[in-house]
Subunit: 201 residues, 3 copies
């Protein structure tokens, strides 16, 4: 699956909304710059880190449309903040679809650039979650991925399935669909039943 351009832009916008909401929850970052900066980092951080490791130029650097998508996301988040919070279930679904798509796109891009299969799994997860990790680090919080226990793990699972099926010769379109579906499924089930990972002693 070549992620259609407009879906990629939509994913960026969704992440931007999520970042803007996270910032506007905290007094410290309530001004327009703080909200926008945090939103931007959330939306492009993961992909940028992946691309810096791969040695390719991040998409947002060469295509101004990504920054426009982020701007729309920020304006949307500030304007409709109370509605978004009211419909947080819908928003949760958006975020989940977002990380699922980003993961699979990240794995594919990594494999295309000659990354080892095991490493590609990590790069896929990075694409989806590191934007949020960088955001949380900047605003001096424990990164959410350490608290939402089955979040990054869902991405890792989906990424592993993608790499596995790819090695088995499964068609990329079918593979992408299955992997994205698995990530969404794991995430939804883990939230619904409040599943957690086993602890180290």
């Amino acid at each position: 699956m070549q992620l259609p351009y407009y879906i990629d832009l939509l994913g960026t916008l969704v992440f931007a909304v999520s970042g803007a909401l996270a910032a506007s929850d905290k007094n410290m970052y309530k001004d327009i710059f703080g909200v926008t900066f945090t939103s931007f980092v959330t939306a492009v951080g993961g992909g940028t880190l992946r691309d810096m490791i791969l040695g390719v130029r991040p998409t947002w650097v060469v295509d101004g449309n990504y920054l426009i998508a982020i701007t729309i996301g920020v304006v949307f988040a500030i304007t409709f903040k109370y509605y978004i919070i009211k419909y947080r279930r819908t928003f949760f679904l958006f975020d989940t679809i977002g990380i699922a798509l980003y993961t699979v796109v990240g794995v594919q891009k990594s494999l295309e650039h000659g990354v080892a299969p095991l490493a590609a799994i990590i790069m896929g997860m990075f694409s989806a979650v590191m934007g949020g990790v960088i955001r949380d680090t900047l605003i001096n919080e424990i990164p959410l991925i350490f608290k939402k226990e089955i979040y990054a793990t869902a991405c890792l699972s989906g990424a592993a399935i993608f790499v596995g099926l790819k090695l088995l010769g499964v068609d990329d379109n079918i593979n992408s669909f299955v992997s994205v579906f698995v990530i969404i499924l794991i995430r939804v089930i883990s939230v619904k039943y409040q599943l957690t990972l086993p602890k180290s002693r």
Copy 2:
């Protein structure tokens, strides 16, 4: 404007002084290593991040003079700490000139490397402020750019003006001069009148 080499070095030195002072204010980082490390990160962090995104090698990696400038900055900051604090207005002006120059240099370098105009504005701001952001994150503080409200915003404004005038065909030298001047002006006025940005609800 090709930023003259010695001005770039002077900017690095000024940022190094600023970083060393920030570190030596906190007991935890008072030893020579902590002060030097923090100083180094402040001085080269923004430009290094920009260059990693652009895919070019940071200047300090290939030219040892930048590290010498930083060393001089650290020694200067430790030796004359009380004088610098006494003349903080002068120092504020230095820092302001520093971020203005770094912003414009960052925008130019980005445009030369084929970055989209909108993205170049962000890259310019990054060059100027991300060193301080990385420093603050390392010493476990809320990044100053979220507190000094019209700081990064001044850089963004100047960068936007540079890109705008560039697209209008204005000569680079005049353009640089105007953009640098605007950044300094916005910063000075916002501090003098304690202006802040509007808040999200």
Copy 3:
């Protein structure tokens, strides 16, 4: 000295153990994902940052064995946690050998890629300590290098000696041996006699 492949893998494993222990000490990161993620960042963070600055692809991205080494390190750390804590002196020695090897490998790799001698010293230190710094930043702690006072400084000293002897034309194998030895010596002596660096006023 071309660091033998299996020693490099062993170093990665040792750093992974160290990262896993750091995470499992904190309740927040006790689940398997948190421990593994923290372990991974500790093990590859420094080298990855160095390679991103150099513009080369990190080894773990192209060679899956590094991730296997990290996995073994995590399983080992979780399984034998109490024994490792009991024999912390042995573990301390491992960590010290680890940072010494990483520093010298980092300096060499940097010099081979045309980095200026002064900058190569910093890149060597980065290779050894930045994994821990990134780990500490992510888990919202003051980076250990600011508290363990003669840690990064030992790496800097060894790196400086390597660069100095290299410029004097000393054979790489002898040079590596001497530099690694000096780092270990400084670190061991500073811990034994609780030496600290001078403070800024």
